[in-house]
Amino acid sequence: MINTQYSNMNYNVNEKGYYGEFGGAYIPEMLYPNVEELRQNYLKVMAEESFQKEFHQLLKDYVGRPTPLYFAKRLSEKYNTKIYLKREDLCHTGAHKVNNTIGQILMAKRLGKTRIIAETGAGQHGVATATVCALMGLECIVFMGEVDIKRQAPNVARMKMLGAKVVPATSGSKTLKDATNEAIRDWINNPVDTHYIIGSVVGPHPYPDMVARFQSVISEEIKTQLKEKEGRENPDFVVACVGGGSNAAGAFYHYLDKPEVGIIAVEAAGKGIDTGESASTSVLGKVGIIHGSKTLLMQTADGQITEPYSISAGLDYPGVGPMHANLFASGRGEFISITDDEAMEAGLKLCKLEGIIPAIESSHALAIFENRKFKKNDVVVVNLSGRGDKDLDIYVNYFKL
């Protein structure tokens, strides 16, 4: 089905750093020189031949790209459509996050930075950052909510083994949002030698665009791989889970302006959209400012940012990246919310049918097939953003295995 309504629109960032009405750089003056330096240089640096060469070499030899596009035969039979899985779970460190940290560490080096900071929720981005810092021999400090440090002990251990310093965020709710605040405060305190590697398509411009470009290798590969397998570059649908939205941004990127490709973003409904324990930002959020970006976010009527909830720490963020806010507001993207229970069932189903243990984040994307029906000949690509090793305890306890 071709939806021509969108064919003349552009879903990428404009020259002012906005996606429609979303984005911008709402930052205190203390951050201006750093963010401005990045804004003036990121496209130039990324266009350099030596950068491209080093980036792609590392993605190939270190990360293990291209990741396979796998036709999930038994899953397809069950849901009576053609389901392909983009295997980001097979990336080094276990998730797509490393695509971005490789890109940003190369950027940081070219900007002459010697100290790297990052925030992390579940610890996947923290591990991916600690990994590239070890690779490049740079100092690495990862901010992580005190609550998450307890919940995600294996990833804390990984970061420490890789030589990173893990600093607990003890303010506010002591989770991802607060870890991000602490990282920003650290950047304010260290304005000259430090680069902040944001882990998602959030934060002030140019971060959402820069991170989306580094992750866009996902949809670039899908195009080539699908051409080989199906004789066409474009699937009928591409599906990805959205917390901040970096894996989704990468999977959607080269299809944003292809109206014949349906874009499906899957959010975490937590215990249910109306339970007060949810992270369905598209449903529950209003336009506001979070972490330097104007976007949809969950907040009180008075503009205080509220705590989201999801069983999956990677989707437990009160906002979405401005690109996704615009996909939602413009109608270009179809947004579906999946509960904890639906995601857990879908995760177990993938284990049983395909022998793949997905991260609970990715299980949300897989869960849509129960209620969202596709035609038999539809080609549906699901971005399998991460592997489930980090979630084994949660799966085991949930299913009492």
């Binding site: 911008g24 750089a25 205190p28 203390m30 020189p33 304010i188 305190n189 304005p191 503009g303 940012i305």
Partner: protein, 253 residues
């Protein structure tokens, strides 16, 4: 009403105090304002608490959390300030983050400020370009000054741009830090203050961040029009309560 400009034209160095509205108790706002004026403070920044204060250190973060737990909202703050101009005549500014203002409605917020007699706003995460493109007219309509920040990393070109866009004063952040750090006022800060002084800007500068006693106040104001104390004042409030205000202010100068 040119309370800020009139105050700036006085000859002395100005002492300005920041406190978080709704802290330590929800209804302390008016009494704190009155006590500060009585003790000779020249200007006050009333902090509108926010859940995620990016530019603030632990002291102001905690006071904001407590204020929100106490039930402080934008609506309640304006109710508390309803009759403030019958009691307090020094310049009053509201300092906060942009999101609560955005949710209240920028025009509605400015209108309320004008009604209760607020003279200016300091919204650190509302950038210059956004302000000029979307909000400057609204601020002018309600005769509100918008105060911008500069830091030791701000380029001369940008300082001049901010000076052009400013009326009233420029908030000179003393060092590369969040609020409440005690980096002291060493040689590099004195050089930075002198460098900005030598630019001969049309707006006077008031120094903020890191001022916590008489010594740092003296050093901060050597090359600037005044200084703002925030975290140190809040720390004092949490230890001694409102009863400690008078001796704290007297200890500064």
């Amino acid at each position: 009403m040119k309370r800020i400009q009139n105050k700036l034209s006085e000859n002395n160095k100005l002492l300005s105090i920041y406190f978080t509205a709704g802290y330590p108790k929800l209804d302390d706002t008016v009494e704190i304002l009155q006590l500060l004026e009585k003790d000779g403070v020249d200007m006050i920044e009333i902090g509108l608490p926010f859940s995620d204060p990016l530019a603030d250190g632990p002291t102001i973060q905690e006071s904001s959390q407590v204020a929100l737990k106490n039930g402080m909202t934008t609506e309640i703050l304006f109710q508390q300030l309803k009759d403030i101009r019958k009691m307090v005549s020094i310049p009053l500014l509201i300092m906060g983050y942009f999101n609560p203002v955005l949710q209240f409605g920028v025009e509605n917020f400015c209108k309320k400020c004008a009604e209760v007699g607020i003279d200016g706003l300091i919204l650190p995460d509302l950038p210059l370009a956004e302000y000029e493109e979307h909000y400057a007219e609204i601020f002018k309509k309600y005769d509100l000054l918008n105060i911008f920040l500069i830091t030791p990393q701000t380029s001369e070109e940008r300082i001049r741009m901010i000076d052009t866009a400013s009326e009233g004063f420029i908030y000179m952040v003393s060092s590369a830090s969040v609020t409440g750090s005690s980096s002291g006022f060493g040689v590099s800060q004195q050089e930075y203050f002198k460098r900005v002084e030598s630019l001969q800007l049309k707006n006077p500068q008031i120094v903020g961040f890191g001022i916590n006693n008489s010594g740092t106040f003296q050093r901060a104001t050597k090359h600037a029009k005044g200084a703002i104390i925030g975290s140190a004042f809040i720390k004092m409030l949490s230890e001694k309560g409102l009863a400690g205000i008078s001796s704290f202010i007297k200890s500064i100068r």
